[in-house]
Each structure stands twice: as C-alpha cells, then as structure tokens.
Symmetry: C2
Subunit: 495 residues, 2 copies
C-alpha cells in the first residue's frame, strides 16, 4: 500500500556459459549472501584451500541473522550444557528433533546434526563467537547476556516423555536483541580473516550453466552493470527465504501472509530458491513457516488458557511459542485469545490488546461474542482439574496449572491481524547433507549448493528457536567443504 | 513392503533438441496422458485444426478419471440445475469457491471457470457424456444413475450464509461406481472421432528443449525403445498427480502418507510435474491433498458428533466430507472418532471399526482412554443445546442436531490408520488460465502446457468433489486451444 512493488527479478531464467562473453572474475567457490549461512560456507571453503568469492547485495554482512536474537540450537552435551549441569546426548537430541519435526523430517540430516553438534559449538567458538557459561531460562530471547535456554518444547507434553529434556538454545553473549548482531560481527570478521574475497553491493541475478547443466557461474549486478562470475567448484546459494516476496508467499504459503511481522530483510525475496529452481532444483515443504507467538513472556501468562472463537482450548499452553503460533495460525485460523484472571495477568512482553474484560467468565464470554456457555464450560472444566494441579486434557505441566477464579477476567487478543505473530519461511531447496541441491528426481546438480533458509529447514513444523541459524551454519560448513573439494578435484583433473 | 520399489524415472532431466538425432514422429500438439484432462486437451486442439498426437502409458485411455465416481463440479445455471428447480449463477458459484478454496486461491481461474461453466456443460454433452435430468441428494457417490448432488459444503455454515446454496456435482449417467468409466468411455470415443492420433503403451520420460529453452518435444519409451517426438505448438502434460510416488509425498505432503486408500493409478507418480519442473516450471501448493472421509453415508451419521482424542469436537459434522477429512487428518492428526447413540447409528457405508461401546457416555469415554470427564462434558454441552435443536458452537444445520441420549453409545473409529481416508494430491505445476506452465518468476514457458492433477488445483484446501475432473477438462480445453493456435502461428511464420 503506497509502497512501490519491488522487482523480484528473473532469477529462474538461467544463462548459458557459451553465451557468456566476458567473465569479470572467477573463484573456486562463489558464495551468494552474507548471513550466518553464507559466512559459514565461505569460512569452511577457505579453510579447505579454496579461493572464495562472496557476493552480498547489501553494503555489509549480516543479513537476517543479524536481526535475529542470536540463538543457536546446539546440544548433545556442549561444554555450556555441562557447566550448567544439564545432561544431554546426541541420541536425546535426535529423539526430540525427530518427534517434534515430523512427519516428513529429514532423518539423515537430523542424525548428522545431532552427532556433530558439540563439534559445531567448538567451531563457532573458534570463529570468535562468545558464549557465556550461564543458564537463562527459556524462550528465544534473553534480555541479558546469558546463554542457555529451553528454546523448544522439550519440557512440554509429549516431548518431555519422549526425550530427556535439556536446554539447547545457545544465545551469543551480548545483551538482548544485539546478540544476533554480535554473532554476525564475529562471523564477518572470521570470514575476512579466512581470506575470503568479499564483494558488497552486488545483487545476484541468475545462474550460469554449461551445456551439461553444470552450474559454472552467476550473473550479478554491481555498480549498475551486469557482470558474470565464474565458479570452478560450485556456487552456494545463501540468500535467505522468501517471506518478503508476496507473490511467492501467496503461491506457496498463503497462511503466512496474514502475519504482520516478518523476521527478514528485503533480501528474503526468494531469489536464491528461484535461481536454484531455474537450474533444475527442487523446492520442498514450501508451505512451512516459523510462526513465533510470544505470548509466554512473562511466563506467568502460561497459567492462562488459550482458546479459539468457540471458547475451546486447542493446545497445551506450555508448548513452545512457535508450536503454539503454528497451531494458532494454521489450525485455528489465527483466531485465538488468552484468558487470564487477576492473579495470572501481567503486562505481556509483546504488544497485545485486551479484547475483553469481565467480572465473571460469563461476562467475558458475552463481550467476546463467543457462543453462550462455551467459555464458561471450558473454564469450569479447566478449574475443576486445576484445583488438583492437573490438566488431564492437554497435559500442561503442573507448574502452570492454577484455577482461574480471581476477577476481573480478561481476554488478550492474539488474533493474527492484531497480535505480534512474527514469521519467516522454512521451505526451500532440497539439499543433501553435503549441501548439494537435488533435482525433483533426487539427483544432485553438479556445481550447485545451498544453505540456510534458501533450503528446506530441519523442521517444517514444530520449529524450535535457534534451529535456523544452527542448520544454516552447520550445513553451510558442509556445503563449503564439499564445494572446495570439488574445485580441488577439478583442478587436479585439469593439470 | 514386499512390493518392488518402482522406478520413478529421471523425468526432470531434460534433453536438448540439438542432441536429438532422429524424430520418430511429430505433431502440432503432443498430449501426454489419456485421462479426462488429456482427452479434453486433445479434442479441443483437434477441433482447432491441429494435428494431435496423444501418448498414453497404459494400454487404453481412462486414467484415474475412469476410477472416479464420475462427478463433475459445474454450475452457474446448467440445464440440469434448472430442470431440477435449483437457482444458480456464476456469481454465487464464484462466491462459494472463493470462500471455500482460500486463502491463496487463483481468482482469475475461478472467475473464468464459473463464468463459462454452463458452456462447459454443453461441451461435455456434445462429446456424448450423458447426464440424467435428476437430483440425487448429496455426496461424491450416487449408487443410482442420477445426476445432481451437493458435492461440497454449500449447505453448511458458513458457506450457506456466504452464497446461495446450489447442488453443483453433476454425475455422469451410469449406475454407481461405473460413472467414471462411462465418462471416460465417451471422452475416449470423442477423442478418436476428433481425429486425434492415439498411441498407447508409450511411457513419456522427459521433455526436449531447444537452446532457447522452448519445449519442442518429448522422449518416450515404446516397445522397449526410446523414441523422440517433435511438437510444433506445444507439449501438454496430463499425467495425473503424485500420490503414488512415495518419495514425492514424503518430500511435499507427508501427512498424506498415513492414509491407506488412494484414488490413483500407478501413473500418478508425479512424472508430469517433474518433467515440467525440469523444463523450468514452478510447482505450487504441493502440500495440498483431497482427503475424502466418507463418514456421512448414511446421512443419519451426521447426527453423531466427531471428537478428537481429547473428547472435544473440532468441526461442524455437516461440512463436506473432504473438508472434514482434511481437518481430521491435518489439524487433529488423523485421531478422530464419531460418537453416536442407539438412534443415530446405522452401519456406515465405508468400512469402519467400532472403537468402543458403552451403556453410558462415561463408560464410552473410559473405554476410549479419553481424559476423565472430557467426552461427558462435550456430550452434555451438545445435548443441552440440541434439546432446542441448536448447535451454537459449530452451527451444524438443525436437521442434524438431536440429543445423544439413547444407550448404548458407540464410537466409530475414524483414525487415519484404521478408517477409509481416500486421498489424492492437489498440488502441481503453476499454470495460467490458458494452461501455459509458469516459471518461479511467473513467466510462461514457451511450448509447455499442463492440465488436470499435473497442475495445482482450483482448491488447495476445502475441496469439493467433482472439482478435479471439472478443472482438468475445463482448463484442459483452454490448453488444447492455446497450443493449437500456437502451432498455427508458427506454421504461418514458417511459410
């Protein structure tokens, strides 16, 4: 509205190497995008003796990662988990992720991710990323510089029965919202130190293929001029997701379009996904999104009950805020309210309106326009069990179960149009654990890699915070290494 | 399990025309697949003076359309609607489809489809497809040779308030399950009469592109030999959906994998979608599926209440069986039960087990292992309103609202693993109303068309029965016409 429709480019319209008259530059590995994924690809490729060229559309590194809360999902027994007294193992982490990310989860990726998570922690520390040896609590956001928190549904039913809970959200040591910027500050510095050639203000446009459909380069715009860059080992797409491409959202994940807040930069226009598809790549789980509904800060609000427009509960309120957000948006059509009483109310962290207040639940129900008796029935049932500290219907943890009996009662508005739903896309290119992009026939495309939100995430549902930076950096490293080794092999052949 | 893993082919691995040494045959328009969509494409192309070659993998025409119930979603005031005394208009039909198929629905396609639906009815009749001037009732299946039925949620809340309800399911005149076969019998005959060259036992493998990425032909296997077929105007992909490709289902729509019944042939292996993607096409709404849960036959069962494992209702039971099936599978994890009493029970049409029986609701609840009080509470609330013929919570139509008070009570098992959920995929290639396949940049691919379940359907959710054959034949005709005119234009240029 009033905002100029941005040109999303013809990213899928690949070029042919035989039509390329002049190459502006060449490298063993070309990385597109300078967020956490791109930096990790570049560092690892450079450490495997590759000459790496990194192209970034903006005037500095950071991307959407720098806007994040700087939380990284790591576990299996990291030094910080150990110091803080939490037991964890790759198998427990695997059990949790398989249960929460399915169905359709990528088992091979999750296995590798869990088995090598501790090693990945050490790698991040080696790059200069600071973590404090401290436990904060839970959530995706730490206002302090503390590290560990439960950033998923580990403590909630049914996951607490499936895998031994452990906090796995590792937030970079920096106060509050600056943690993401600190992460990228250090990864950018490490990329520079690794000898990566970084070219900013360069917008990638489309891939260049040879006649065997191998990806051999990329077309990018720099200083208003179209330039061609040749890649020997491969091009790695790390340009983020597509939440800021309204056409793509409408085509693939229309339910996300209703949310007002996006964790994204203008770079999240699906360019990398379209470039990859143009080169023959398959994009999968394109309907998936991370939907943060941060109604659980402060935690006392978890003692309230979430209801839909029928006055009915639909989920255990202590599930992680992304799982609740996904259920609220996708299953309940984004029409949900948090019911609290005088004793369970505190001003929510996220901007939220009070939809109704009443001296009785009946009054509240009527003010909300709910069917007569619906909310009264729900609250009465909830209270009956809550008197004994139980929630047999949804199995909310006893800590959060208390009867709602102290007037006034209030309904906080968590409808999609009014509340703070923050979203980004989780669907993208289908990749092997090596980062190689697959075709719809599940065959790797020579010379093409992707990482981060340009790929389909570890979790297409049941997202836990920190997974995105975790899989972007973890599998980014795999991609960087594979592309570097591919370049070395080609060099040997050429000799 | 015990079944040999079928080879799904390398459909996305396109060939180049310059590498094609010999063309076995050529035509103005080449149609792949001989279901309802392929037949409609071929007939319309032939009627627009094209030389048409139709390639079909099996030994006869029919495809999945022949296995269907022969129902076609048509409206806006067809002669049969009029004869049976139902008022309808393109605008009412449009209002219903926009409300039920959204969000993310393709408005341009729905508009055209509604505006020209009556014309399309006449076209089908011209092809020899018989329709009886009679009203049957509702559902996707007519055991008799009757025609009209409500095959969507037109009569249910909220749709009955949004658009004037009219039955739009037009079943071909033939008893019971043979109606789909009758439809295809007539369309196959019409295809032959139109002068289409039909080549059976020919399995398409991949597309052939020229150096400008125009689709100029197809590789197919015939008599164990790989052959190349040249197309002047275009190739039209009509090879069905992908429900019988387990890898694709897992990648794109894993929730469908749990259902035991598939409306499909072995041809629904996603071949056409992958061929189209290999040629640069975008596949959209790949998570979507039609999920038929035919618990509403006989209709008295709608007087029961559907509950999840928490003993809670989740939907108005009189919504159409595909909408209920989708909610049951996707939102409730396929864990639902129909609660009936002595007076509302009749043996269901679909094979279903009785999960529990009890002299009281409490006994039933306990036998089902539901949380104590949960089902009792739900039934008590339902009955309280039902005594007045009302369902204020879900707005089930009063005809179906009656207190459940006559023991014994029973729970019918409608869980995904045990019940008759019948599914097929609704996601596929993104096309213009002309049938042209679009790239991820929304640009048409020269020479490439698709129709039927190889494309993304009119409804990606809230499916109404008959929409699939309707959009396959309707937009199939558009594709046939466009490809024929493209061939004619090229011929003129060549002169």
């Amino acid at each position: 509205m009033g905002r100029k429709k941005r040109d999303m480019g013809r990213a899928a319209a690949v070029r042919r190497a035989r039509n390329t008259e002049r190459w502006s530059d060449e490298a063993d590995v070309i990385v597109l995008g300078f967020g956490a994924a791109g930096a990790s690809v570049a560092i690892e490729a450079a450490c495997n003796d590759a000459d790496v060229l990194l192209l970034e559309r903006f005037s500095g590194g950071g991307g959407t990662s720098a806007l994040s809360t700087g939380q990284i999902y790591l576990g299996g027994g990291t030094p910080i988990q150990q110091k803080c007294g939490f037991e964890d193992s790759p198998d427990e982490m695997y059990a949790y992720l398989i249960a929460s990310c399915g169905p359709g989860e990528d088992e091979a990726k999750i296995r590798l991710f869990c088995d090598e998570s501790v090693e990945h922690f050490h790698w991040l520390v080696e790059q200069g990323v600071p973590f404090k040896e401290s436990f904060y609590g839970d959530g995706s956001y730490t206002p302090t510089d503390d590290c560990l928190s439960y950033s998923g549904s580990e403590l909630a039913h049914p996951y607490r029965e499936i895998a031994r809970p452990a906090p796995r959200g590792h937030t970079v040591q920096q106060d509050g919202i600056e943690a993401g910027a600190m992460l990228m500050n250090r990864l950018v510095a490490a990329t520079e130190s690794a000898g990566v050639r970084i070219q900013l203000d360069t917008l990638c446009e489309t891939l260049i293929l040879d006649d065997d459909n191998r990806v051999v380069g990329v077309v990018a715009k720099c200083e208003r001029e179209e330039r061609c860059y040749r890649a020997l080992g491969g091009v790695v797409l790390c340009t983020g997701g597509f939440i800021n491409n309204p056409q793509m959202v409408r085509r693939h994940a229309p339910w996300l379009a209703r949310c007002r807040y996006r964790l994204a930069t203008d770079g999240d226009d699906g360019r990398g996904i379209r470039m990859g598809m143009g080169a023959g790549g398959d994009a999968i789980r394109m309907d998936a999104g991370s939907v943060v509904l941060p109604f659980t800060v402060p935690k006392i609000l978890i003692k309230g009950i979430l209801v839909n427009r029928r006055g009915m509960r639909f989920i255990q309120e202590d599930l992680y805020q992304t799982t609740v957000g996904e259920a609220a948006l996708l299953r309940e059509g984004g029409e949900v309210f948090l019911i609290v009483d005088e004793e369970t109310f505190e001003r929510p962290f996220a901007p939220t309106e009070i939809a109704a207040v009443g001296e009785t639940v009946a009054e509240l129900e009527s003010e909300l326009g709910f069917p007569a008796g619906s909310l009264q029935n729900t609250v009465a049932t909830y209270n009956e069990h809550a008197l004994r500290g139980q929630d047999p219907i949804f199995n909310k943890a006893p800590d959060y179960v208390t009867p709602l009996v102290h007037p006034p009662f209030a309904a906080l508005d968590f409808t999609a149009e009014n509340a703070w739903y923050s979203v980004f896309t989780l669907g993208g290119l289908h990749t092997l654990p090596t980062g190689q992009v697959l075709t719809p026939d599940e065959e790797p495309i020579q010379g093409l890699y992707a990482a981060g939100r340009t790929t389909s995430g570890l979790a297409a549902q049941g997202y836990s915070s920190g997974l995105s930076i975790a899989d972007g950096t973890f599998f980014g490293r795999k991609a960087g290494r594979h592309a570097a080794l591919a370049a070395a092999a080609i060099r040997r052949q050429q000799r």
